[in-house]
């Protein structure tokens, strides 16, 4: 593609522009080009200037014939030239072309398409400069309004393009034009291309200033619903491509909660796209159909954001909140993607598409509570791609493996550790690309633990000694990683010392800064067991012929200075002194200064080397470096003073090193950008083993726990919601709600095995004469964290589409954990579109404590006699006093029979008696997860002006109050 020569078919009809471009291309020297541009600028300025003068002079005496000397074509040509100058100079000349702004705006108002187009294109380039908005903002906005309202799709399209490109630069555009853009977006008559463009233009504007949505709750709800309903046409994938980014933004920045209910719909689209149902494929030239990768990645990105990882704190949407059907679709999609990804592809393009889908879904899979098998198959799919010849694939595979290993945790890491280490080591040796190597090193770092740290570190060290790698930045990175890994996971002290010193012995350039040897010195000081060993190894290094790395000399200067006496019988201080004098002249000044101090420490231990030390210092008095000179002078004086006065001054000045107490490993801060979290590591070597790498959780919505509660408060309940709630408290099934379009029926049932679990089935019936689309539901509990009173689980969601008269069911469970006021019942939020009308209904679903009430002894026909009732009533009074009792009076006007019937429907056991004619006695057992079962007794005395209710429960606290609340609500 992209041929080397032009086939001379020109699409550009402006001769003057052609000439100008050719001239610029023809000029070899930069000065020539510059001259040509200057000349052209002068020319254009003159043309425009003349025109402006005429315009101004129009009113007076200039003839109209002269005034029209600059026609649309010419104006277009000059503006286009200015645009080309802008490109040819890498936008450095933006100030020089600004004079053409006026003419550009003039051109924008032209009725001729090509002129309008050039004007818009030039303004798209110019608008990033704030001066444009200052000088011509009003004019441009006016023209945009005009064009957006135009009947010509082409003008609208140009205006939308313009807004999509520059919308982000100027918040005034948002304030002035967002309504117009939204009109295009929501209008059912807009052409598809305009809908697509307006979705993106809307996004560009809203990114600038989303207050337009957030300030007005009503508008927010309405607009978001309009936007999400654009996804309804589940076969129109092309429209989705443009709408999804907008939804993504809304989910992230505006109202994540409003988008949670899209999860089933998005999953549906994803599933259909991946399994190849529908027409989600994408037009690869004449090949087998393939899921559209853009659609897949976009949806996965949104889902990834909406669904939190299983380990996250409660209160967020995790896989457990999603109904099984949806979850199944998502899991199937992942499996299918692995299948697609691993089967051979026909050509490079198809392979890219397959891999893209594979990577994005594997990254998402960890959110779905994958089984170990699923992880293992993901890992093996990825590892098989490591052998790919395609370099980009290898890079992305590693990237994906890192994410998988750090997010999915142990099972993924273990699998790689067991099966694929050799492959990774092999790759480390043959790979040449820095980007890939960096990823590979990151991956090895993620995988390291105490069991495999030795082979990993050995492989990395081998990599370092391999002269093939010339990039220093990666070498520094690797060396820091080796240091951290050895410190963190080493179990064998000898190995630790050997490896650390090997690392220091590498050429200086690859170690970058001095952090590493300093850290090793700290650890040696803090761990007695390492000291002798380290000293011996360092001596070996120093005795080597040839150059030793400076880091080794620095570490030796410090450690041998501190612990020379450990070597006492074999190696004398004099010998060590000689070794250092050998090296002294081959190292940097900083290192020399250290050696001077070390000599002092050696002298402290062995006075016999005194004369040699003094000689050395005297020599260094002539040093050119002021630091060395001063140091030698001072040390010399100290020795002299000691000799004269006889005080052991050196002893006091060079005390043994005390252990370091810094708890943080300074090296970890250097790994900042790496995928791993920097867990703190103590400087105490022996305890450092216990620290493992904590994977960073992927980014998800923040501060959601608050928003969830706020959302509960935010709901505007539909008129007459109390009716449905009341009915639900009283009856096990019935009509929950009726609206002009939709009727909702309910059925409640309690699982016999788990009496505190209430299953709710809602049936949605379309009673309008048009199909209902985008039927989305959301259940909002009062809270999901901090000991919630009940937990909800969606079993199945209703269908998105309902034809006339069709019905669909929505099943969910409410698990009562503890008793709570009935007002805190969950809110059901239903939104749908019918015809051109969108509506939203919010209703409270009764989750009262009496919903799961049962009569005690079912087997014994459940009847409690009055005497039993009275006996229990007394017993309760004796045992608990008034703590389990609650009394209230409701002004219900029902008759005694109605009350009795109502209590029975609610599930209470009503005492069959004829002694107290104005009273209903009822008994029942309530079930909760946390507090177990408790019995309750109720006495309802009928009076002319209401009902007097007294309730006693076997458990103290507020339980009786909550029961009475439910009864009152049911009787009202």
């Amino acid at each position: 593609m992209l041929a080397a020569t032009s086939n001379n078919r020109s699409h550009n009809s402006m001769k003057g522009l052609q000439l100008f471009i050719a001239d610029l291309r023809g000029s070899v020297h930069a000065e020539d080009r510059e001259k040509r541009i200057q000349a052209e600028l002068v020319n254009i300025r003159r043309q425009f200037g003349a025109n402006n003068d005429k315009e101004r002079g129009k009113g007076s005496s200039v003839s109209p014939l002269m005034a029209s000397s600059m026609n649309g074509y010419q104006r277009k040509k000059y503006v286009a030239k200015l645009a080309y100058i802008l490109i040819a100079t890498n936008t450095t000349r933006i100030a020089d072309v600004m004079f053409g702004l006026e003419e550009c705006c003039e051109l924008m108002a032209s009725s001729i398409y090509s002129e309008k187009f050039i004007a818009y294109m030039t303004l798209e380039m110019l608008y990033c400069s704030p001066t444009v908005a200052q000088q011509a903002g009003d004019r441009i906005i006016q023209q945009l309004k005009h064009d957006l309202a135009s009947t010509s799709d082409n003008s609208v399209s140009l205006a939308l393009n313009f807004l999509a490109v520059v919308g982000k630069f100027d918040s005034r555009l948002t304030a002035e034009l967002i309504h117009e853009v939204f009109q295009v977006l929501r209008s059912p008559t807009s052409a598809q291309i305009l809908k697509k463009k307006s979705a993106l233009a809307f996004l560009a504007l809203i990114r600038n200033d989303s207050s337009i949505l957030t300030q007005d709750a009503r508008r927010k709800q309405l607009w978001i619903q309009r936007i999400t309903s654009l996804l309804d046409d589940s076969t129109n994938y092309r429209l989705m491509i443009s709408v999804l980014p907008l939804i993504d933004y809304i989910a992230r920045e505006v109202d994540g909660q409003a988008c949670v209910k899209l999860i089933p719909q998005l999953s549906d689209i994803l599933y259909n796209c991946i399994t190849g149902k529908g027409e989600a494929s994408y037009d690869l030239s004449g090949q087998q159909s393939m899921p559209n990768p853009w659609l897949v990645t976009k949806i996965v990105a949104i889902l990834n954001f909406l669904i939190s990882s299983p380990s996250s704190s409660s209160g967020e949407t995790t896989f457990s909140n999603i109904d099984q059907g949806t979850l199944g679709k998502l899991r199937t999609s992942v499996t299918k993607a692995i299948e697609i990804g691993t089967e051979p592809a026909l050509d490079a393009v198809a392979r890219t598409v397959k891999n893209t889908i594979l990577f994005s879904l594997i990254n998402f899979a960890s959110k779905l509570d994958p089984s170990t098998d699923a992880i293992v198959s993901s890992v093996s799919a990825l590892c098989s791609l490591l052998a790919s010849t395609e370099i980009n694939t290898r890079y992305l595979t590693l990237d994906c493996l890192i994410k998988l290993c750090s997010v999915s945790g142990k099972s993924a890491r273990d699998d790689v550790r067991v099966k694929h280490m050799d492959q990774l080591f092999g790759l480390l040796l043959i790979e040449r690309d820095t980007s890939i190597l960096r990823k590979l090193v990151d991956l090895l770092y993620t995988l390291a633990d105490s069991s495999n740290v030795q082979p990993i570190v050995n492989a990395l060290l081998k990599f370092m000694t391999d002269a093939r790698q010339s990039d220093n930045s990666i070498r520094t990175d690797v060396s820091v990683k080796i240091a951290v890994l050895t410190e963190k996971f080493a179990t064998d002290t000898t190995w630790y010392v050997v490896v650390s010193l090997d690392l220091l012995a590498l050429p200086t350039s690859s170690l970058g800064s001095s952090d590493i040897w300093q850290r090793i010195c700290q650890i040696v000081v803090n761990n007695k067991s390492l000291q002798l060993l380290t000293c011996r190894r360092l001596l070996e290094y120093l005795r080597q012929r040839g150059n030793v790395s400076e880091a080794i000399i620095k570490a030796s200067a410090f450690i041998l200075g501190e612990y020379a006496e450990l070597l006492a019988p074999d190696t004398s201080c004099g010998e060590i002194f000689n070794l250092f004098t050998d090296k002294y002249f081959s190292v940097s000044n900083l290192c020399r200064a250290m050696i001077l101090t070390t000599m002092m420490k050696l002298y402290k231990r062995d006075g016999e080397i005194g004369s040699a030390v003094i000689k050395f210092y005297q020599l260094e008095l002539n040093s050119l470096d002021v630091e060395l000179q001063t140091r030698s002078y001072e040390y010399l004086k100290i020795i002299q003073l000691e000799k004269v006065s006889g005080v052991r001054l050196v002893e006091a000045l060079f005390e043994p090193m005390v252990p370091f107490n810094s708890k943080r490993n300074p090296l970890l801060s250097r790994l900042g950008g790496s995928v791993l979290s920097s867990s703190d590591s103590t400087s105490d070597f022996s305890t450092a083993n216990s620290i493992s790498t904590a994977p960073t959780p992927p980014p998800t919505r923040k501060s959601k726990t608050i928003s969830r509660n706020a959302k509960y408060e935010d709901q505007q309940l539909a008129a007459g919601w109390q009716e449905g709630l009341r009915r639900m408290l009283r009856h096990k099934q019935g009509v929950f709600c009726t609206s002009p379009f939709l009727k909702i029926l309910y059925r409640l049932s309690v699982a016999p095995a788990q009496p505190e679990l209430l299953e709710v089935v809602l049936t949605y019936v379309n009673i309008s004469d048009q199909p209902i689309t985008s039927l989305l539901t959301d259940l909002i509990p009062i809270r999901t964290d901090n000991d919630p009173p009940y937990i909800m689980k969606v079993l199945s969601v209703p269908n998105l589409k309902l034809l006339e008269g069709e019905r669909t069911s929505h099943r969910f469970e409410i698990l009562t954990r503890r008793a709570s006021p009935v007002e805190q019942s969950p809110i059901l939020n239903v939104s749908f579109k019918c015809g051109g009308h969108t509506s939203e209904i919010s209703l409270k679903v009764a989750a009262g404590i009496t919903n799961t009430i049962s009569t005690g002894q079912d087997s014994l026909k459940g009847q409690v006699s009055l005497s039993q009732f009275v006996q229990r009533w007394r017993a309760l009074g004796d045992a608990l006093g008034r703590s389990g009792e609650y009394h209230t009076k409701t002004n219900s006007l029902q008759t005694l029979e109605q009350i009795g019937a109502c209590m029975q429907k609610m599930g209470f056991d009503v005492v069959d008696q004829a002694i107290a004619v104005d009273t209903v006695f009822a008994a029942g057992i309530v079930h909760t997860k946390n507090d177990g079962n408790s019995g309750s007794l109720l006495k309802l005395r009928w009076q002319t002006d209401g009902v007097d209710i007294t309730c006693k429960t076997t458990k103290g606290g507020q339980l009786s109050e909550f029961i009475v609340q439910c009864v009152c609500a049911a009787l009202a």
Binding site: T5, G72, T91, Y113, S114
Partner: protein
């Protein structure tokens, strides 16, 4: 979060042939990016992978004949392979439109190059259209409009 931060077309001589900024940058930043990327990308060898880590983001590039198509993408959101595909889509569209496109076509018809880009990518680097056929259809209808405009001009 912006998907694609910018798209640049750089010639082998290091000249910028087309640029579009999807994210807000100051003039100095733009200059720096243009300058540094043209040297970084041009210096890379043919066999190296098409992804470079640059500043705080990633740069994906692909060479077509004498032109490098360079995209800066945000590290967390974007998929590198897909960006390459987007570039490819863009090139394919231009290729069909210009009938075997070359650098000169893009230089002389820069307005068309921008026009086609608008049909592929707008806003924050989101795709407008993935189907090549419909991109070309839109562009062709605009051309037709232009021709009829020109005709009107001549006739009037």
């Amino acid at each position: 979060m912006v998907q694609i931060k910018y798209m640049l077309l750089i010639s082998r001589q290091g000249k910028i042939r087309l640029m579009r900024w999807f994210d807000a940058f100051t003039a100095t930043e733009k200059n720096k990016i243009c300058r540094e990327l043209s040297t970084t990308v041009l210096a890379r060898k043919l066999k190296m992978c098409n992804i470079v880590e640059y500043q705080d983001h990633k740069v994906v590039y692909r060479r077509y004949a004498s032109l490098y198509f360079v995209c800066g993408i945000s590290p967390e959101a974007s998929n590198e392979l897909l960006t390459l595909e987007i570039i490819h889509r863009y090139v394919e569209a231009m290729d069909s439109y210009f009938d075997n496109v070359c650098e000169l076509d893009i230089i002389f018809n820069f307005t068309k190059a921008y026009d086609i880009l608008n049909e592929v990518l707008i806003c924050d680097g989101s795709m407008t259209e993935t189907s090549k056929t419909s991109i070309l259809k839109t562009v062709a209808s605009m051309d037709a409009l232009e021709t009829s405009d020109n005709l009107d001009q001549v006739l009037s």
